[in-house]
């Protein structure tokens, strides 16, 4: 085909096809000349409602008030938040519509922006200077892609991963152009559904066409999940040898080394990655934690300080860096600064049991600096806190707390805490071994064995009673019993999955009830938070969605509406 003078076709007409004219636009750039230029370009393309922000802070204020359809955001915004941080904050705080288009703009391609394993990617990345033609091409392309992914994204948001994966297959048939991106999404969904074999097939299908590094990395992640750490390590290193800026491979390689019991190597890899792409809160935190484990106080301090500095303007910031840095201060025999940091952490962060975690760290700091009197006092205070509040933190924190309390001489509270851990993980043999080690170290081996045995029995008794009621058709009683079991053991996966299964049976056999469906959904979402990527989670989520008569009708209606507005 020959196209002569294709530029004679007026750009304004194509933007009208997409009806961008009446949409709301936001231009974020710290350079006034660039803001004006971008506004002019948008106006020439027919846009009318264009707001401007000169900084990340200004942008967030506007994004909070107005739902924008298109955001053009510069990556480098001078002091304060950068463009990626503005995007993350907007996404996490729900300031964007699912249909919103976010175009990141930069003078150069930066490793962080394109190679990061960033969870929140912009829809497109544009390099300056931005001409009207490029802007229009990219806007249209993103819009078309959003149409292709619309239903998939919706199912993804509802965590119905299996349906989303099936929708990917359906779209591949319709849109060969997006095949590679759809396969990438499908593999991710299959992994989240606990279907690594099918995810592997999907990655292999991509690799038959091209050696995409994300597909190679995906294959290696699956091998790592299977415990094939050495094979995974080789693939990650191969990817890095081919593209030394593929930062995700470094983070994964470090994980592989940690799994292989080689923290020194993990630390080296993270250090290299942090040099290439220093502005990741998560990476600096990992580097700090590995260094701390290795006793490399200098490196840990540097990483935690950097982590706090980057986090200042980021919604991704976590208390971990403050707690880690406090430990560093303890090791350097500077308990005063450590306490200061713990106070800051409690002031800046709420929830996540921050008071408890700060107190654990305080105990460790005193214990490590040899102040046994104050360490014991922290242990007693932890015991009081546990008595005052029946809620327990996550497993890792419980284990940390028990270890510390035993070390400073508290006996009863840590034993109880470990029983709680066992009851919530009664069929996780690796974890049971770790718990046994803690008891052994506290010279409570025999007592510990008895406690482990009793706790395991209590958990399985709770579960078996529920299953018995369910199998004998007493669905109402079974649901009631599982509520009781969940209240006692809120993080036990077997109990949670069975509770959801029993709720689904109730819905299926005794008719659909909004309240029970919501309860099942809540139980399943809790499972996915405690232990993501379970096969049973994905299957139950899909079954639950299918049971809902309203959703089935809505999906059918959406399908009709879509076919009407399907782009040419």
């Amino acid at each position: 085909m020959s196209v002569s003078n294709p530029f004679d076709s007026a750009p304004a007409s194509s933007i009208q096809n997409v009806k961008w004219v009446e949409k709301n636009y936001l231009v974020i750039d710290d350079f006034v000349g660039v803001r004006q230029l971008l506004r002019e370009s948008l106006r020439n393309l027919g846009a009318k409602n264009i707001d401007q922000a000169a900084s990340g802070g200004e942008a967030i204020a506007l994004l909070t008030r107005v739902r924008y359809d298109v955001v053009l955001c510069d990556y480098n915004l001078g002091e304060g938040k950068n463009g990626q941080q503005v995007l993350e904050e907007a996404r996490l705080n729900g300031l964007l519509l699912p249909s919103s288009v976010w175009l990141m703009v930069s003078a150069e391609k930066s490793v962080e922006s394109v190679m990061g394993a960033a969870e929140h990617q912009s829809d497109a990345y544009l390099i300056k200077p931005i001409t009207e033609g490029v802007l229009l091409t990219r806007l249209n392309r993103v819009w078309h892609k959003k149409q292709v992914f619309k239903e998939i994204d919706q199912a993804y948001m509802e965590k119905d991963y299996l349906r989303a994966a099936k929708l990917c297959d359906a779209q591949i048939e319709l849109n060969k152009v997006h095949e590679i991106e759809l396969l990438r999404m499908k593999a991710l969904l299959l992994l989240k559904s606990g279907e690594p074999d099918k995810a592997r097939e999907t990655y292999e299908r991509v690799l038959q066409e091209r050696d995409y590094q994300w597909a190679q990395t995906g294959l290696a992640k699956i091998r790592m999940a299977n415990g094939e750490f050495e094979q995974a390590r080789q693939i990650f290193q191969g990817v890095i040898a081919e593209n030394r800026y593929y930062i995700d491979a470094y983070d994964q390689l470090a994980l592989a080394y940690q799994n292989m019991g080689q923290p020194e190597e993990a630390c080296n890899v993270l250090e290299r990655a942090a040099k290439l792409s220093p502005n990741s809160v998560a990476r600096q935190r990992s580097l700090g934690q590995v260094s701390l484990k290795l006793g490399n106080v200098g490196m840990a301090e540097k990483a935690f300080r950097k982590c706090i500095a980057i986090g200042e303007y980021s919604v991704m910031k976590t208390p971990d860096a403050y707690l880690g840095l406090a430990r560093v201060c303890g090791m350097k025999n500077e308990p005063k600064e450590a306490l200061q940091l713990l106070m800051t952490a409690q002031r800046e962060f709420s929830g996540d049991q921050i008071g408890l975690r700060a107190k654990i760290t305080e105990g460790m700091v005193y214990h490590e600096s040899g102040d046994f009197r104050r360490a014991r006092k922290a242990g007693d205070e932890l015991e009081e806190m546990l008595n005052a509040n029946a809620e327990r933190p996550d497993t890792a924190t419980c284990m940390e707390m028990a270890t510390l309390m035993f070390a400073v001489g508290v006996k009863e509270a840590p034993a109880e805490l470990l029983c709680y851990v066992i009851k919530n993980n009664h069929d996780n043999s690796m974890l049971l071994d770790d718990v046994k080690k803690i008891f052994d170290k506290a010279r409570m081996g025999d007592e510990g064995d008895a406690l482990i045995k009793a706790s395991k029995k209590e958990a399985s008794d709770l579960m078996n009673q529920g299953v018995l009621l369910w199998k004998t058709g007493k669905l109402g009683e079974a649901v009631e019993w599982m509520r009781h079991a969940r209240a006692k053991l809120p993080d036990n996966l077997r109990i949670l999955f069975n509770a959801a299964q029993i709720l689904l049976s109730h819905l299926q056999q005794l008719g659909y009830e909004e309240a029970l469906a919501a309860e099942a959904n809540e139980v399943l979402l809790h499972v996915d938070r405690v232990a993501p990527g379970h096969q049973r989670f994905a299957q139950l989520m899909e079954q639950l969605a299918r049971l809902n008569p309203a959703a089935t009708a809505a999906a059918a209606a959406a399908l009709v509406a879509d076919s009407e507005i399907d782009p040419a």
Binding site: P6, P129, T131, G133
Partner: protein, 235 residues
């Protein structure tokens, strides 16, 4: 590359200021495009001079893009390469849109010849940059026509930018060959920006790899119009 300390200092200086300069040049070329789009040789006496200003501004910008991509970090000519599948239509659309005002103001027609359904895998920003640069270059040397043709060839993708000018002089054809062979001693980047452009383009070509093959670049004379031809092959 010349690795003497003084050349490193120079690139450090260029890389650090290029970032800032790009903002100004974006505004400058944007303003010129707007002025030219609203004007014609009849209404505006300085029309040809303005067109030439736009050409020069685009050249400046191309050079900055190349410097930033190649010398983002001092002495480390590497770049976060990102391969993605792209419809060739979208490549052509962007390159054509970028050259639209300049082509019109110089009275040059651009013919694009490609299969609209073709999808290929490459780093979009780099290839849009290289092809845009080749067209910009052709604008300066052509008579009144430029042809952009993109087609599959021997399992790879061939992108040709052809013009109906007098063709490349022998020295340039040689520079093209040496850029590809990695022999850069014959070209002084600091005085010959065409050399820099060729060096950049050949680096981009080589970055594209698939299985055992990698991309290549060559200059030749002939083609459909009998003028200069810039030929980029991607695996």
């Amino acid at each position: 590359m010349d690795d003497t300390p003084s050349s490193n200092d120079l690139f450090l200086f260029l890389a650090s200021t290029a970032h800032d300069m790009k903002n100004s040049i974006s505004v400058l070329s944007g303003t010129l495009e707007t002025l030219l789009a609203d004007a014609s040789p009849r209404t505006e006496a300085a029309y040809p001079q303005m067109a030439h200003m736009l050409y020069q501004t685009k050249r400046l910008n191309d050079n900055l893009i190349q410097l930033l991509a190649l010398y983002k970090q001092v002495g480390k000519p590497e770049y976060p390469f990102q391969m993605e599948p792209l419809e060739i239509t979208h490549l052509v659309e962007q390159v054509v849109a970028a050259g639209r005002v300049l082509l019109k103001s110089k009275g040059i027609t651009l013919e694009a010849d490609f299969e609209p359904d073709l999808v290929w895998h490459f780093d979009e920003d780099l290839i849009v940059g290289v092809v845009g640069h080749a067209i910009n270059n052709a604008i300066n040397y052509t008579g009144d026509k430029i042809r952009l043709s993109i087609a599959k060839l021997d399992g790879g993708l061939e992108i040709r930018v052809e013009d109906n000018g007098r063709g490349y002089p022998a020295a340039m054809l040689e520079a093209g060959a040496s850029a590809m062979n990695g022999i850069s001693s014959g070209v002084n980047f600091l005085t010959n920006s065409t050399g820099l452009g060729l060096y950049f383009s050949s680096e981009v070509a080589k970055m594209h790899k698939h299985r055992s093959r990698s991309g290549s670049l060559r200059l030749e004379n002939g083609g459909k119009y009998g003028g200069g031809c810039f030929v980029l092959n991607l695996p």
